[in-house]
């Protein structure tokens, strides 16, 4: 089996086109302008032209009521509704994370697409690198080209993808799941936000082409504390999720801080993600298999 080639120019061009079309200047109200120009050209269905007299705010109210329903009462309910709403459409995601445990720090930026309705998604480093795909309950992690080889527990062949079940618990604490998985899978992050407590409105929020409200939230257990903010736009969608996860779980080697920012955009984007070819996929090694392999290598190194 050939080694998987590194990211090619197509990935780079995709990222450049994203950047070149981002952060545009404020635009006119497109819907208002469309109605005005259509009315001027006498091209409207007469009853639709009548609606134009009411104005943009009324139309926005119709659209909002069609799309989001009656606004819930509390901040917590509004955030939960936004998380639900966001999970009803595909989107692009940009995820910036930073992890530190006192002795080392790592940081990275990933971009991708998710389709919650099809339960598929894809993430990759902003500058290329191994890809992660989500197809149903299975997560496929691409192995870096330099590491394509036989793996502990692998069925005697080289693999370029490792598969694991998203539902497999880490076996530590539920909140640890949030801190870790939220930064690997935005859908998981939205699930946790939906159940967040201590949610309070903090003020206005704005981003590229949207405005909305910022909410703060918190989640704690004996060893973990997660705090953050959720920005919800006027369409009732989550646009930005920022979280800081602090752990004192030294017994499991998880003490430290994780900080991440997830930005949601381009709702409705086409998100075609498929599982890798079966012959390239191996199951993720179990912790026991990894420990045995490390012992074997250590003994072999000592000669």
């Amino acid at each position: 089996m050939s080694q998987h080639p590194g990211p090619g120019p197509e990935h780079a061009v995709r990222a450049l086109l994203e950047a070149a079309s981002d952060h545009g200047p404020p635009t006119t109200d497109l819907l208002h302008e469309v109605r005005r120009r259509a009315r001027r050209r006498r091209a409207l269905v007469p009853s639709l032209a009548g609606l134009a007299i009411v104005g943009v705010l009324a139309v926005a109210a119709v659209a909002a009521s069609t799309v989001t329903g009656t606004p819930p009462a509390s901040a917590r309910e509004r955030v939960a509704a936004a998380a639900t709403r966001t999970a009803q459409d595909s989107y692009r995601i940009r995820l910036v994370s930073r992890k530190s445990n006192g002795s080392s720090t790592s940081a990275g930026t990933a971009v991708g697409v998710f389709d919650p309705t099809r339960r598929t998604g894809r993430l990759q480093g902003e500058d290329g690198g191994p890809e992660v795909r989500y197809v149903g309950n299975v997560v496929y992690r691409q192995i870096p080209a330099s590491q394509v080889d036989r793996l502990p527990g692998a069925p005697g062949r080289a693999c370029s993808w490792l598969a694991s079940d998203q539902r497999d618990p880490e076996g530590i604490s539920e909140l640890a799941e949030f801190g870790g998985r939220a930064l690997q899978n935005p859908q998981q992050a939205l699930e946790w936000v939906r159940s967040a407590g201590d949610v309070r409105e903090q003020g206005r929020a704005a981003g590229d082409g949207w405005v909305g409200v910022r909410y703060g939230f918190g989640l704690t257990d004996r060893l973990w504390r997660v705090t953050g903010t959720v920005d919800v736009d006027t369409d009732g969608r989550v646009r930005r999720l920022e979280l800081t996860s602090r752990s004192s779980d030294r017994a499991n080697g998880l003490a430290g801080t994780v900080h991440g920012v997830l930005e949601f955009r381009d709702f409705g984007v086409q998100a075609r993600v498929t599982a890798p070819p079966a012959e390239q996929v191996c199951p993720m090694p179990t912790p026991e298999e990894i420990r045995r392999e490390r012992d074997r290598i250590r003994k072999a190194t000592r000669g």
């Binding site: 089996m1 050939s2 080639p5 590194g6 990211p7 090619g8 120019p9 197509e10 780079a12 061009v13 995709r14 450049l16 086109l17 994203e18 950047a19 070149a20 079309s21 981002d22 952060h23 545009g24 200047p25 635009t27 006119t28 497109l30 819907l31 302008e33 469309v34 109605r35 120009r37 259509a38 050209r41 091209a43 409207l44 269905v45 009853s47 639709l48 609606l51 139309v59 926005a60 119709v62 659209a63 069609t66 799309v67 459409d89 082409g209 369409d235 381009d266 709702f267 409705g268 984007v269 086409q270 075609r272």
Partner: protein
Amino acid sequence: MRRRSTEGLDAEFSAFVHRRARHHLRTAVLLTGDWHTAEDLVQTCLVKLYRAWPRLDTGADPDAYLRRMLINTRRSWWRVGWRREAPVASVPDRAGEADGQDRHAVAEAVRQALGALPARQRAALVLRFFEDLPEAQVADLLGCSVGTVKTHTHRGIRRLREVLGDELVPEDPGPDLDHLVNVPPGRRRDGG
């Protein structure tokens, strides 16, 4: 076609604009090179879509309609000389060398580099890698063959690399060489 109420049609159109207009505006800025022309292009096409909305089947994909309108309208503007872009007199400095990590400078350099491409190469790159459309769909939108789409894409990427540098547009890592080990001994490349 299922009959829908006028209020329902208007609400549908409004919801579509709220949800997707920004994305199509981004496509338009990649096709035209500047935000003001892009906004005009999107508005023009949304007016056409607004008129056609009552006739659309409920199963229709308004994104696909709007995308085709953007491509065709942009092409017609270019043909009649309206909104014809000023030719780029000189290629921009290589963004990777001049501007390091500045995202806005890179964005501007990419838009200029796109503007220096022939219109069909630019459209092929935008439809393939921003809209993420398969080659067959791009061919249908551009009114050409899949092979021609591949050619436009290949040449467009090569031209972007020349302008922006291989730090921003790396070379292809190369073909899978494994199949060559299975070539029967004695077969020459010229087929003899």
